[in-house]
Amino acid sequence: MTAVTESPQAPPAVRAAVVPEDLASRPSLRETVDQTLAMAWRATKKMRRNPEQFFDVTIQPLLFTAMFAYIFGGAISGSVKDYLPLIIPGILAQTALTTCMAMGTQLREDMDKGVFDRFRSLPIARIAPLAGPALADVIRYTIAATLTILVGIAMGYRPGGGVLGTLGGWLLTIVAAWSLAWIFTWLGTVARSAQAVQGISMMIMFPLTFLSNAFVPAESLPGWLEAFVKVNPVSHVVTACRDLINEGQVTAEVGWALLGCAAVVAIFAPLAVRSYSRKL
C-alpha cells in the first residue's frame, strides 16, 4: 500500500468505534431548522447566479398592475383611480400565486440533478431540501408584493388603511404566497417532468385567480359562479387584503385567509415530504 499522508481530519476509524445505538434516530427540531437554513442559503446562491429568476417578480407587477388598471378600470369602476382600491389587492393575490408557482418547476428541475442524491443520502431532515428553497423564495414574494403596491401608489392609489394597513396586506400576501407554494412544491415532487409541473400549475393558477373576486366584484357574476368564487381561498386572501389595505381593519376575512393558508401548509407540506422521501 502507498504511504499514509497526514490528513487534517482524524482518521475515520475513530467513528467506527461509535456504538450505533448512540446515534439519533431522527433529526431534532433544531437540526431541522439549521438544515433548512443551509438549504435556503444554497437557494439564494443559485438565485444570485441566475438573475433571470427575478424577471417575473419585477416585470410582472409593473406590467399587470398598469395593464389591468387601464383596461378594466373604466368599465368596472368608472375610472382607473376608483378601480385601484379594488384591483391592487387583487393583483397582490394574483402575483402571490404566479410567483410561488415557479417553486414546483424549479424543485422538479433541481431534483433531477445529482446533488439531490447526496441530500437523500445525508442524515438530514427530509423536509429541509423542500423548506429551504421555499424560505429563500420569500425574497421573491417580497419584491413582487412591494413593487405591486409601489406601482399602485405611483398610479395614484392612496390606501385608506394607512401605513399599518398596507403593511398588513403586504405581509399577508407574502404569507399566502409562501403557503400556496407548498401546493406547487408537492406537485414538483410527484410530477415526472418540469414541463408537466408547469402545465398542471397553469391549470390550477388560472381558475384560482380569475374565478375569484380579484378583478371583479363577486356580485356581478352568475349565481353558480358566485358560489365558487366565494369559497375560492384566493377570494378570501383578496378580501382580507382589501380590508387591511383599504380599511385598515383586521376583519374575520383576515382570519379566514390565515386559516386557509395554515390548512394548505398542513395538508401539502406533509404530502410533499412523503412523496419526496419515496422518490428515487
Partner: protein, 344 residues
Amino acid sequence: MNDTLPSPTPRDDLAVDATGLVKTFGRPGSSVFRAVDGVDLQVVRGEVFGVLGPNGAGKTTMLSMLATLLPIDGGRASIFGVDVVDQPHRVRQLLGVTGQYASVDENLTATENLVLFARLLGHRWPAARTIAADLLERFGLTEAATRQIKNFSGGMRRRLDLAASLISRPPLIFLDEPTTGLDPRTRGQMWDTIRELVAQGSTILLTTQYLDEADQLADRIAVIDAGRKVAEGTPEELKAGVGSSTLHLRLTDRTQTAAAAAVVERALGEAPVLTPEAGGLNVPLANADGAGDVLIALRQAELSITTATVRQPTLDEVFLALTGHHSEPTENDHQNDHETEEVA
C-alpha cells in the same frame, strides 16, 4: 487490515450484512424486471469489498438500497448492525456515498458545496469553512475553490464528490464506479486516494466494471451478473479460475484450430478457450511466462500462427469462466452456446 477492530462474535465484525436482497422494477403482472435478485453481501469492518459486474448488473441498485436511497423489495440489510429499513436516519449517519455521477451542486463553487454539506451535517459556519478548506487542500482542489462545478473536469468532480463524502468522517464509504470515464492518470490518483482512506481504517464498498481496479483495491470481490451474485472471493481466488494472464493466438490455417488446442493442452495441462472468430485461441496462463512454452510447443508441432498477444484477463473472460456467457450480451447468441461447453 482487519485488525483495527477485534470482534467478540462473528456477526459483530460486519460493516454491511445483507441477505437475500431483492429489487424489482415494473408492475407485477406485466414484465417485472428483477434488477437485484437475492444477493447476500457480508462486508467485514476495515476491508475493501469490491462488487464487480458489467453495466446493468444491478450494482448501483444494490448500493442505493443499502444507502436508504431505494426501498428494499425483499431480504434484509443492516449497516454496523443497524437495520436499513427500520432506522434509515441512523444508517445515513454511518455512511458516506460517492455516486457514479458526481453528486455535487453544479451551480455552486467547490467551497460552497463543501460548506453546504458541512452545514447540513451540523457544523457551525466557521467550522464548515475550515473543513471545506482542509478537504480542498487534501484533494488538491484549493486552486479551483472558487470555481463553479460546471467548469470542473470529470476527475475534479469525482475528487470533490469523494471529499464531500468524507465530511462526516463516516466509518463506511460507498464508492459507486469511482473511476468510470476517467483518464488513466486521474484514475491512478483516485486509486491512491482510496488507498489512503483504507490506510486510515475506513471500510469501503466499491463497485466497478474493471477487473484490474477490483484487483488493485479490493480485499474481497463479489461478481454480480444480472442481479445475482455468481462468485465471491479474494482477487487471487477469482483469477485462479482464468489464470493471471491470457495468451491470445490466431492460427494461419483455421482448420488446424483443434490440433492447436490439443497441443496447448498437452503443453499446459489445461484446455484453451476457442474465441468466437474462427482460428483464435485464448489460453489462460497461471503466469505470463507460460506463453513461451505454448509457442515452443506450437512451433515443434509445426502449427503456424499469425498473432500472439499476452494480456491480463478481462472482466469478460472472468465472466465467461464464471457464468458461461459474456458480460455484455452479444447479438450472436450462438456464440454463447458453443462457448458454454468450454467452461468447466
